[in-house]
């Protein structure tokens, strides 16, 4: 259930209640693909860095350890020990980005697993069965994530099929949730809008999704090579056709600036591997911009990564120590870098919410958008 608390322009302050607690929005979901955050962060760490929602992946967990295993252990919450809300991605994106030798038909997709090459079939029903077994709070619809650019006719046929798949997802989950051995009876299905960069297809697809009256919607297939301006325009187009009383999730986005701009255009949920991936390369977010901790200037720098940051890393360790760990190939370097970057994102979203509450978001966006993504 989504409650719209306050708006400023198109930006929205809200609260989304799941079977595992409420989420204050706008929110950044922390990506734990295989039921763990890359960089050795556990559910216990997530509690310390202000995470509200853990995002796990259907495709990966189906391959390893298997959704049957997770279900037998009581579902993803018990398995990972994360007791807050969990969203599972449908596997659609991974089938199209990771798997080999895809064969797409109306029923679904046959592909070779990236782990060992064995053939797997996944369609809307399979994706729902896996997510139902995992017991996430929000299950995402199985969709085709189209390459960018793609021909108009292909995108049109694909979004029409994704719309048909959505009906099958809904029907399957309704059936599954009637079973006595349902892990999470409160699990909900969100639809995913596709349509590439074609506004009419995006709009048409969104109208089709609306017919199902689902509790939430995502915009997928963005941040795949188009310019930021194109992305913002598509959000503006689709957003006009999204119900105001439903949460909107922009999948896989993005930089701090992207997030500020998308919030200004009415987006509530975000996820992105960027904070973790940047951390891996020593690119650390600060309130003054992005620093590269590998830079020689930090070798004897006794200051924290970001003097204005309250994360467990900045409260205790120096830039010099974090740099030494990363340069020496110590796993701890990765852990501290990821922990800091995720905390930075989670607290950026907390700041956004505070400014929405105060009615000062627009000023905050103008002041911060450029600064936070700048390399210094």
């Amino acid at each position: 259930m989504f409650e719209l608390i306050k708006t400023e322009g198109r930006a929205r302050l809200g609260r989304y209640t799941t079977a595992h607690g409420a989420v204050e929005t706008p929110v950044f979901m922390n990506v734990g693909t295989q039921a763990a955050i890359k960089g050795a962060l556990s559910a216990e760490d997530l509690e310390r860095i202000g995470c509200q929602v853990l995002l796990c992946n259907t495709y990966h967990l189906h391959l390893r350890p298997g959704d049957g295993v997770v279900k037998s252990l009581g579902g993803l919450h018990r398995f990972s020990t994360w007791s807050g809300p969990i969203l599972t991605d449908s596997g659609g994106f991974q089938v199209f980005s990771l798997a080999q030798l895809r064969n797409i038909r109306e029923e679904g997709v046959t592909f070779s697993a990236h782990t060992d090459g064995h053939r797997v079939f996944m369609g809307p029903e399979e994706s729902m069965r896996i997510q139902w077994a995992l017991g996430s709070d929000i299950a995402m619809a199985f969709d085709e994530c189209i390459e960018n650019p793609a021909p108009y006719d292909y995108v049109k046929r694909s979004t029409e099929r994704t719309a048909r798949w959505l009906v099958r997802c809904r029907d399957e989950l309704v059936q599954l949730k009637q079973r006595d051995d349902t892990v999470n009876p409160g699990q909900e299905l969100w639809g995913i809008n596709q349509g590439g960069t074609y506004r009419d297809l995006r709009t048409e697809h969104m109208e089709r999704i609306n017919e199902l009256d689902l509790p939430g919607y995502a915009i997928g297939g963005l941040a795949v090579g188009e310019t930021a301006e194109e992305m913002y325009e598509i959000i503006e187009t689709v957003e006009q056709h999204m119900r105001r009383d439903r949460p909107r999730y922009l999948m896989g986005v993005g930089t701090p600036a992207n997030i500020l701009e998308a919030v200004a255009r009415g987006i509530d949920f975000f996820d992105c591997v960027m904070p973790a991936r940047n951390a891996r390369h020593g690119h650390l977010f600060t309130h003054e911009g992005v620093i590269n901790i590998n830079n020689a200037r930090y070798i004897s720098d006794d200051d924290p990564i970001d003097a204005r940051c309250d994360c467990p890393v900045c409260r205790r360790f120096s830039r010099a120590y974090v740099r030494h760990l990363i340069r020496s190939g110590e796993m701890l370097g990765m852990r501290l870098a990821v922990m800091h970057n995720l905390y930075f994102y989670n607290s950026l979203l907390a700041d956004i919410r505070a400014h929405l509450r105060e009615g000062t978001f627009e000023r905050f966006r103008r002041e911060q958008a450029e600064k936070l993504s700048k390399r210094i």
Copy 2:
């Protein structure tokens, strides 16, 4: 300062006071070669897993980030944020195990760094200057760690040189500690006994070390291929020539059984990379023996790694989850495995101390020695 609190047979319960606090002995030191524990554990984690002494490495820290850098940041304690006792190994072992193209002379050793091949010279004075700059509480003497087996004549010449090096170490550290910019004025030098498997050379060398009246001693050059029985016999031989009012450190040892047997022979300090290395391979210590978490039988096992363990991992996570993480190549798997194994070692030593206090160590050793190292 070492205080001998109680004995049972040759086993000793004691307390060693350093410039950064007291250490209850027997103790297992946790190996943080590059000022961090392998497996993404920080000083904060060490506080949670019962670590008393952090062991860091002169050779590695000299190469990266450089002892000058660590000194400029206030020494190893401030750098790593570990506020308890720190022991630094002298670099001798690494020069002989890691470095290439060694050239040993009376002055010291010239070698190629394992990181980038550049030529480095290290002798007793250099090792002391580095350890003085790092500011550890216990600095180890620079020694030649002899291969096993090695010819009698070579071992004899080598231990004689190591004895001469010890005098130079002591003289250098006395000089250094008079400097105003000394990081840790309470730093102490411990000698290292060598002599391969030749008892007369071991004894002779120990007598030479005794002449210097140092605050502690180590037995080096063991656990390098000789049988456990041979190792125990050498300990028995050397121990008779060690002062009772000084702590004894058995370098690089060993399995839980090795530790119990060495405690029974009068050893107080231990260190070993085994808990971390075993963790890397999924070999986890339990009170029933060693389990291999990769084993298929643990795939749906909801129990903790060790039902009798109170570590942060066993209190929260299942075998199934730890197995999944390790099998999926998630860093978090390594972190949890290392955390558990180190906690196991630290609490084994706490148990040993408790039994020494109660006068029941001998029974504990008989019951546990075989069991704890058994593969199940």
